[in-house]
């Protein structure tokens, strides 16, 4: 029975093995081809790129050398990344093989191409998710992005120099302008907020001033009403109001009222003195 199952599983494994071999040979340089040669190429390239620049164009020589070094770094990362993803493809086939074997054991069937496709997607996602979660992938992905950005930034520098030589706006210059503009906007918003705060404070002060004025005019009306009661009252309503206020504020303020009504100039002088004190 075991032998029979093994035979059946063997049949299931057959197309998987073929696929695996195909994937393996297609993913990288097949076998050991170029393996011995590659380090030498890198060594020669590194040596060439480390030759110091000389003469009038030494800066540009070093810039080109640096660019080539960055390009080589990126190519290495990219190559490594794709090799690893190729391995994920192989792992996915392993998982798929395993699942098919399990299906065979459990007597499950695959009845359509769509089911095969769905299974393939599932297995690939599973293998991919396992790899993506690893620290190795995180580092590799980071290195790939960092190497690409370093290369791109180097290219931007060269482009900026060219644009500058042609009298055109540069990326660097634009970045400076944008940064200053944003700083100005922040400062503008800050000033606007301060002005708004000051305006609201000012409104409070104005309201207080109005209150003080109203109190003063009330006081004056009260005191003049007090004086005028003996001479010529304007209206009964005002009189009453004057009396009420005078009544509430009692003697001390009455005196002040009298002072003001009696001699305006002296009253102001006194007020001025009071403020000074």
């Amino acid at each position: 029975m075991g032998q029979m199952l093994s035979g059946m599983f063997g049949a299931c494994q057959l197309p998987m093995d073929t696929l695996q071999r195909t994937m393996s040979s297609g993913s990288v340089f097949p076998g050991d081809f170029l393996q011995g040669f590659k380090p030498d190429v890198e060594k020669v390239t590194d040596k060439f790129l480390s030759v110091p620049g000389i003469g009038y164009s030494r800066e540009s020589q070093e810039q080109v050398q640096n660019g080539l070094r960055l390009l080589a770094n990126y190519q290495r990362s990219s190559h490594e990344y794709h090799v690893q993803l190729g391995k994920v493809g192989i792992d996915a086939l392993d998982i798929m093989k395993q699942r098919i074997l399990e299906m065979a054991e459990n007597g499950e069937e695959i009845n359509s191409l769509r089911e095969v496709y769905d299974l393939w997607v599932d297995c690939n996602e599973s293998a991919y998710a396992d790899y993506v979660k690893s620290e190795e992938y995180s580092r590799l992905y980071g290195k790939l992005v960092n190497d690409l950005m370093a290369l791109k930034r180097h290219g931007q520098g060269i482009m900026d120099e060219t644009m500058s030589a042609l009298g055109m706006p540069t990326r660097k210059g634009m970045a400076t302008v944008q940064k200053r503009q944003q700083e100005l906007r922040r400062s503008l918003i800050d000033s606007k907020n301060r002005i708004e705060t000051l305006e609201s404070e000012l409104k409070k002060v104005e309201a207080l001033e109005h209150e003080v004025k109203a109190m003063r005019s009330g006081r004056e009306a009260g005191s003049s009403a007090g004086v005028k009661t003996d001479t010529a009252p304007k209206s009964a309503g005002k009189k009453k109001a004057g009396k009420k206020k005078a009544g509430k504020k009692k003697t001390g303020k009455k005196k002040a009222g009298k002072k003001k009504t009696g001699k305006k100039k002296t009253g102001k002088k006194k007020a001025g003195k009071k403020k000074a004190r």
């Binding site: 059946m8 049949a11 299931c12 098919i100 299906m103 065979a104 007597g107 499950e108 069937e109 695959i110 009845n111 359509s112 191409l113 769509r114 095969v116 496709y117 769905d118 997607v121 690939n124 996602e125 991919y128 998710a129 993506v132 979660k133 992938y137 995180s138 580092r139 992905y141 980071g142 290195k143 992005v145 960092n146 950005m149 370093a150 791109k152 930034r153 931007q156 634009m174 970045a175 944008q178 940064k179 503009q181 944003q182 700083e183 922040r186 918003i189």
Partner: protein
């Protein structure tokens, strides 16, 4: 038993059926017309730079007197919360009696490159909060954050708790380094300074690729094979296209804000460590003393549940509630299940506390 039970004639029929559906699908797609998004009636009440603050027309006679401000993420567009009739969280919130406002960040361009988190949180959000407070003559308002907008809402509430009455976070990352956080894992070894210095604003396209790269075989292949099966139904196809439009409608990210967010939140995990700096202020989640409702999705592949649930141990409030949604990161806004569960729960929770 050999599992592959397919006869050649069945395989041929399946291929022919697929081709027929595909042909029919082209017809459906060519007739589908404009894909419209956003259903609830709204009006802009405040604009600043590219930001627009919208007020949605209330759908009940006497809405909650404490208005609700929704802070969306900088990633993708906020119309996912109001996608279509019957698939709109905002509609649900309006029906539950809330008076809803929404911040739409717009599409940053090169001139916005130097906008940082302080500009967003202590600037834009704070001014929007003030606008809403003044319009309703209220000292405090309710705040609801979506995804990254939830993280912003947490920072804002920690720094300005005197302006917030209740806080709701939905699928919001708090602990950015949980074991199953794939995004965090991806950015851990990236030199963010070099990335931002090189690219300026981070292109939306790059973010799209990053998200697709989380499940490449499903999102770049299987999804479209599934589409073929639904192309004979115009309404289903329209729903698919609506989601498709939203998924790839990705604004660029202002460079400085991206730099600070990725470094401080993802790489340093500063929100739970209490080291995040917004302008001159340090964000301490213990300063959040207002009631908090934290909603997370169990099948969320972008913000793992554990990342959101970490909030429970970090906030200073005694009134902390968690709500678990049995679905994914997007389903929480658009699925039928979500419409029945999320807005009514939020409405009820707010009504109890307003």
């Amino acid at each position: 038993m050999f599992p592959f039970q397919m006869r050649p004639d069945e395989i041929t029929r399946e291929i022919n059926d697929f081709n027929a559906k595909l042909s029919q699908g082209f017809q459906t797609l060519s007739d589908i017309g404009e894909i419209e998004v956003g259903v609830s009636e709204k009006e802009p009440v405040y604009t600043e730079d590219k930001l627009v603050l919208y007020h949605f027309t209330p759908r009940v006679e006497n809405p909650n007197k404490i208005p609700l401000l929704i802070v969306y993420a900088l990633v993708n567009r906020p119309y996912i919360a109001d996608l279509q009739e019957g698939r709109s969280m905002i509609q649900g919130l309006l029906d539950s009696g809330q008076d809803v406002y929404l911040i739409d960040w717009g599409y940053p361009d090169a001139a916005d490159r130097y906008l940082d988190l302080n500009d967003y949180i202590n600037g834009y959000i704070d001014r929007c909060v003030d606008v809403v407070r003044n319009r309703h003559n209220q000292k405090t308002i309710n705040l609801l954050g979506i995804c990254q907008g939830g993280t912003f809402s947490l920072c804002y509430t920690a720094l300005h708790s005197e302006k917030i009455k209740n806080l709701i976070t939905t699928v919001t990352p708090v602990d950015f380094q949980t074991k199953d956080d794939q995004l965090s894992h991806l950015v851990r070894h990236i030199d963010v300074d070099l990335l931002v210095d090189t690219l300026g604003n981070i292109p939306g396209e790059l973010l799209n690729w990053t998200y697709l790269g989380l499940k490449p075989f499903q999102l770049m292949g299987q999804k479209y094979v599934d589409l073929v099966d639904m192309l004979d139904d115009t309404e289903k196809a329209r729903n698919f296209m609506r989601m498709e439009k939203w998924i790839f409608d990705s604004p660029d990210q202002a460079g400085e804000a991206f730099r600070q967010f990725t470094k401080q939140f993802y790489q340093q995990n500063g929100l739970v460590k209490g080291t995040v700096k917004i302008g001159n202020d340090t964000v301490d989640l213990m300063d959040i003393n207002v009631p908090v409702l934290n909603i997370y999705a169990v099948a969320d592949h972008l913000v793992p549940p554990d990342s959101s649930k970490a909030l429970g141990g970090c906030v200073g409030t005694d009134d902390y509630t968690e709500l678990e949604f049995p679905g994914g990161h997007i389903g929480i806004y658009v699925s039928g299940k979500a419409q029945k569960m999320i807005p009514p729960s939020v409405g009820e929770w707010l009504t109890e506390r307003s």
